[in-house]
Symmetry: C2
Subunit: 317 residues, 2 copies
């Protein structure tokens, strides 16, 4: 199989690239390297011949030609910054919604029928049902990021019906692990590497979040696309655990053997549209035989170890 | 109150304009007159001083200045053609999704905090629950039209959270009545006015649809915005009845006392993404004291009478 991976130089994308190459597939990475990093593809470039890397944006005209000859598209390119939607209200719409439409159009022109899409648990807004299953009540969006992703999902579903495509849509919790380079564990680690005496925390630290290791995430993607055959296949991806932000901080500080003063910004939300409790019901993906190998605590420590060994990332962000 | 009505020269829009003016409000109509018709506003222009009509597209820069000084936006402008999404996949996204974002941005710039939005029962796709309530399971979209509307809803919800706005979102069944000028009763009547011996019908005629009279629709809009006060208020609007397409044809032919040969295109869907059974659970809007005054049969006959008296509409479409 020849896979086309938008955002293939990103955190999740590059881990997926490594896995697909090691499974013997051909891979075309398409990335604008705005948040993706060439370093994440260095091992893959060194070890595999069947890797092609194209620098391009999903909104560029070259997208369509770049996709020619591929069998399957993993559309992972996105604005993944959940917090800043209200600062520039065009960004999520342009990159995540219009960008997804451009990817679908390029697939249609090239006759490519299969797409996997990285959506988000944020599409559930503040669900009345926790853990939240895929068929939760029709949600109300609380962030422009969530809105842009639900719009991307909807476009993909309409293309499946209209043009005989097949889709796998994944609603992720936050992902941790190797090459992790944005999000709150990253922010906390970066702060503490600059000043170990205090830590600024958005919200009151009680927000409850679930996390998944990137290796477990990639395993789930592969198992899902190989074992589910509906027209539209939607999967939550996460662990059955959650931790408070305060728990993450404690794990981080214990590992670093420091005891900073915590300055909370206050309120039960870190930012507008922050969801105070995210926990997804992942029975559907588990029914295919998948389960996570790493606990949240292991994933946080795994992440810190990676950041310690790769401190250059801290300078990039 | 000063209301700004995008699509105010359209079928539903112009009926709403008449109602708001007769209730004593100021109204600004904003319409590009692509499907809206100046004739629909003639009575209003003749009878009321507090009506301003601006010719403009929601994607034009002038939108924002046009909205200055208004208190409440009814955003009804849309591509309402459900059938042709797959012929040009950009239309629904541009007009209904990006257009809604432009309306929200104009509101934000002008400090306008209240919006009512015409969504559609199509956002439920092929719901497993019929009659379908507002909190039905998270749907899978089957048309680009439905996808563009669910994206519009999501953007509005995110603006409510992000910018302290308040929204009323209405998921309509098909609307019939005075000034009705597109949809299948219109198409059937137009065909039969040209040739009374035969009628071409998309699908096999068994599609089950619910309809609502435009006067009942406008009543519901006014009752909802005056009696529900959540941040985001979502209402299905329809009757508790449904008819088969074949029933609509019989009502029409009996009224016209003709007996045409029916040529079915076949299949249980009229077009890609057509939903074979639409019936909405409208208990929520009924709990506010609203109920429809007209049966579906009365609305169909009402519509035919209007078209007979206004045959110029047939030439326009």
């Amino acid at each position: 199989m020849k896979y086309f991976i938008t955002g293939g130089a990103g955190f999740i994308g590059s881990n997926l690239v490594d896995r697909l190459l090691s499974d013997g597939h051909e891979v075309v990475v398409y990335d604008n390297f705005r948040t993706g990093m060439p370093e994440f593809l260095e091992d893959a470039k060194r070890n595999y011949r069947h890797l092609k890397i194209i620098t391009g944006d999903i909104l560029d005209q070259k997208l369509s030609n770049s996709m020619a000859g591929c069998d399957f598209v993993f559309h992972l390119a996105a604005n993944a910054d959940v917090r800043h939607g209200v600062d520039d209200t065009h960004v999520d719409l342009r990159i995540n919604t219009v960008g997804t439409h451009e990817v679908l159009e390029a697939m249609r022109v090239n006759g490519i029928k299969k797409i996997a899409f990285s959506s988000t648990g944020s599409v559930y807004g503040e669900s009345p049902i926790i853990p939240t299953p895929e068929d939760a009540p029709f949600p109300i969006q609380t962030s422009l990021y969530g809105a842009s992703k639900v719009a991307g999902e909807a476009l993909i579903q309409a293309y499946c019906e209209g043009f005989g495509m097949q889709a796998w849509i994944f609603r992720f919790v936050s992902i941790l692990g190797e090459r992790y380079s944005h999000g709150h564990v990253f922010d906390f680690y970066k702060q503490l590497s600059q000043h170990s005496k205090y830590l600024d925390v958005l919200g009151d630290g009680t927000q409850r979040k679930s996390y998944l290791n990137v290796k477990d995430c990639v395993d789930a993607l592969i198992i899902a696309i190989n074992n589910s055959t509906n027209k539209v296949n939607i999967f939550n991806l996460g662990t059955n655990e959650y931790v408070q932000v305060n728990d993450s901080i404690k794990i981080l500080c214990d590992y670093l053997t420091i005891n900073p003063k915590i300055n909370y910004s206050g309120g039960n939300k870190g930012w507008i549209g922050d969801n105070p409790f995210i926990l997804l019901n992942c029975n559907k993906i588990r029914s295919l035989g998948w389960k996570p190998k790493y606990t949240i605590k292991e994933s946080i420590i795994h992440t810190i170890e990676y950041l310690e060994e790769n401190s250059w990332i801290l300078d990039e962000r």
